[in-house]
Amino acid sequence: MRPAVVMLLLAGLALAACQREERDTRPQSALGSGEQPTPVTTLEPGGQRPSPSDNKAASFEANAFHLSEGKRLFGWFNCSGCHANGGGGMGPALMDEKWIYGSSMESIHATIRDGRPNGMPSFRDMIPDDQIWELAAFVRSLSGNAPSAAAPSRDDDMMAHPSENRMPNAATLGKSP
């Protein structure tokens, strides 16, 4: 890349946006990582400990490619059949600030991989690990939890709601929509 172009980009975009297109050219094996425990509560007898984080979370979260892949996979694996375009249906809404099992990348990754008891299927044997991280990143973007420079900015289908890069952060909306 020519330095002039890089300078221009740096000037125009926030720091986070610089990584929007950065990614591993050779993704990890299908089964991947993410086997560490992901608590679904903040109650920890004996004092709260820092929740374990997966280094994949950060690299997928702010990445435009992974987010747009996540959006595609959300339809491909029929997540949208149960969660609609984030507003919910057979499954709960994913665009609000209410989380049953945690809003972190790690929690959502665990939700998709292992399923949840009240009807969230386990996609462990169906979706490769990296794609689960892509889905997790996209799910977070539905509630405004992705950098707007990286979140998907368009919809190819009938308008369901404004594109993900314009979604306000649900947690700071003040009240439930």
Binding site: N85, G87, M90, P121
Partner: protein, 591 residues
């Protein structure tokens, strides 16, 4: 308050003696009980009780209430047998028996089947049940996770438990069973999950499966044999349940049976509809997609099909064909006919000859633009090409919606007025077909949907339909879809509920509002009326919003997504401001 005024007044002169009545064998004289959700095999939901009438209904007051402990959509009809009332809740499908002979109707017993929690994730439109049925000292009901259970009505002890549905392929059971000649008839839900539909007859004695009739596939699976004599030529031929589909598509093609069954003892025939074909996107399943979105007449002993008629061949708009059918005998254009009346999801009020399946009449009972009528020669629905859905195109303002001009919410018929009282919707929609992968146990829809209020802006209506005249006698507008059932009495009072939570009594003759009571949550249940152990008439309703229309509240969905709950949320954005979730039985009586 919202508009609720009769649009038309009834004819001024007194109506002639009942020219239309249910066959006596399917609607025996009223004994004051309520043993099945539809009241009787003819499905009239008509009570001969008249203590509560047009003049005194305004005095109705609460007799007792009871919390079901479950805050999901309460679509069930309570049952009353002797001095006991039975209610079944949405998932987790708890059955309560209440002792009506004691003050406050204390609990006699309760039964908790503990269904698999994962079933909640594969139930398309809230985790509802439409009720239980009583026969021979037993209560029969279905659980969301695919069990049919028989309980001893006195003790609540389970007698048998048949596991007939598999949630791992997306199968659930939400319908109320019907017991006919010692057989418990049950069908599956899952038309949004690519589930192949069936109706099963279980032996009422021990629960074993006597016969299974599928909604798609080869004739031997559909129980089509030598007795099958459909009226129209398009329904004749071998294995049409296979050949009217792309290869193998019938295996994931829907045609479920989650609605109502009627029974004519004289003809020894049961009647049941079939649900929508799957997926919704019609481009993925060229052909007529038999035997979906239609109606079968079957022999209850063997399940053998006698005739079939398809309301919506190659359905384009999710017009499930599972609504109630009211069996009536009437003079039709100078000839006495045994008819079957069906307010159908596609918007037409059908009158069929129930011995042959011939369509005698099909008139729209509200705004319809998805089709241009029914060709009475061929029986075929005339689709409107402008409203044809398909992959990659957005078609706007299709009326009625996927939820139909009328969904499952059952109507009631009064032989005194000759009118059918139809609770229904008034909604339109935009649809866009998209590609979809079949993954067992996940939705198989392939359609983006966005619903909007129909012409006039009122999202619901309650219409009294003059069956003989083939036109409405009067119609009331309601702000929200009327998702509750109806009941009509010899006292000329009709009861229904609204999604705001009003329980209403209107005049069967004019539609004038006579009384209303605001319950704690929106009403989507089925009202019933019975004679209590004290000899007096009571009216009962379960309040508790939910169902497909109320999923925005019962499932706490986000109204910013126009496609939430298969597009229904877009038309119900304000429901969260009008009501909250609940689950309470209300029983009323005169002072």
């Amino acid at each position: 308050m919202l508009v609720c005024a009769p649009l038309m007044a009834a004819a001024s002169e007194a109506p002639p003696a009942p020219a239309i009545s249910p066959p006596a064998a399917a609607a025996p004289p009223d004994d004051g009980q309520w043993t099945m959700p539809a009241k009787n095999y003819a499905s009239t939901r008509y009570s001969e009780l008249a203590e509560i009438n047009e003049g005194n209904v305004k005095n109705l007051q609460i007799a007792f209430t009871f919390s079901t402990g479950v805050n999901k959509g309460q679509e069930a009809a309570p049952l009353v047998v002797g001095s006991t009332m039975y209610i079944v809740t949405p998932f987790p499908n708890i059955v309560y028996a209440l002792d009506l002979s004691k003050p406050g109707a204390p609990m006699k017993w309760k039964y908790e089947p503990n269904p698999e929690p994962a079933a909640q994730g594969v139930a398309c439109c809230d985790v509802v049940t439409r009720g239980a049925a009583f026969a021979d000292g037993r209560i029969f009901f279905n659980t969301l996770d695919g069990h049919t259970i028989a309980l001893d009505a006195n003790s609540g002890q389970p007698i048998w438990n048949a596991h007939i549905g598999n949630i791992n392929i997306g199968e659930t059971i939400t319908m109320a069973p019907l017991v006919v000649k010692g057989k418990v008839l049950v069908g599956n839900s899952g038309g949004e999950m690519g589930v192949r539909g069936w109706v099963k007859a279980l032996d009422a004695g021990d629960g074993h499966v006597v016969w299974t009739a599928y909604g798609t596939g080869p004739d031997k699976d559909v129980l089509i044999g030598p007795d099958f004599k459909p009226h129209y030529d398009v329904d004749k031929g071998k294995d049409l349940g296979v050949t009217t589909w792309p290869p193998e598509a019938w295996k994931t093609g829907g045609g479920n049976m989650w609605g109502w069954i009627s029974y004519d003892p004289d003809l020894n025939l049961i009647y049941h509809g079939t649900g929508n074909p799957g997926p919704w996107n019609p481009d993925l399943r060229p052909g007529d997609n038999k035997w979906t979105s239609g109606i079968f007449a079957r022999d209850p002993d063997t399940g053998a099909a006698k005739w079939f008629y398809q309301w919506s061949p190659h359905d384009l708009h999710d017009y499930d064909g599972i609504n109630e059918q009211i069996l009536l005998d009437m003079d039709w254009q100078g000839k006495q006919r045994k008819v079957l009346v069906r307010p159908e999801r596609n918007g037409y009020l059908y009158v069929l000859d129930r011995t042959t399946g011939e369509v005698l009449s099909a008139k729209p009972f509200g705004p319809v633009n998805s089709s241009k009528g029914v060709d009475l020669k061929t029986g075929r629905l005339i689709e409107n090409p402008d409203k044809q859905t398909g992959t990659g195109k957005v078609v706007r303002d299709i009326c009625p919606t996927a939820s139909g001009l009328k969904d499952w919410q059952p109507s009631a018929f009064s032989p005194k007025t000759g009118l059918l009282y139809i609770p229904h919707n008034n909604l339109c929609m935009d649809e866009e077909g998209v590609e979809v992968n079949y993954i067992a146990g996940t939705p198989y829809v392939g359609m983006n949907v966005r619903m909007i209020p129909g012409p006039g802006g009122n999202r619901g209506a309650f219409t009294a339909w003059d069956i003989a005249a083939e036109k409405p006698a009067w119609s009331l507008k309601e702000n929200f879809p009327v998702w509750s059932g109806a009941v009509v009495t010899a006292g000329d009072v009709v009861f229904y509920g609204t999604m705001e939570g009003w329980f209403k009594a209107v005049s069967a003759k004019t539609g004038d509002l006579l009384w209303q009571f605001k319950t704690s949550s929106g009403i989507i249940g089925q009202p019933i009326t019975y004679r209590g152990p004290d000899g007096h008439q009571y009216v009962a309703i379960l309040s508790g919003v939910g169902g497909w229309a109320g999923a925005i509240v019962s499932g706490d969905l986000d109204p910013r997504d126009a496609t939430a709950a298969l597009g229904f949320v877009n038309a119900m954005k304000d429901l969260k401001n009008a009501t909250t979730a609940g689950g309470t039985l209300y029983v009323f009586r005169l002072p």
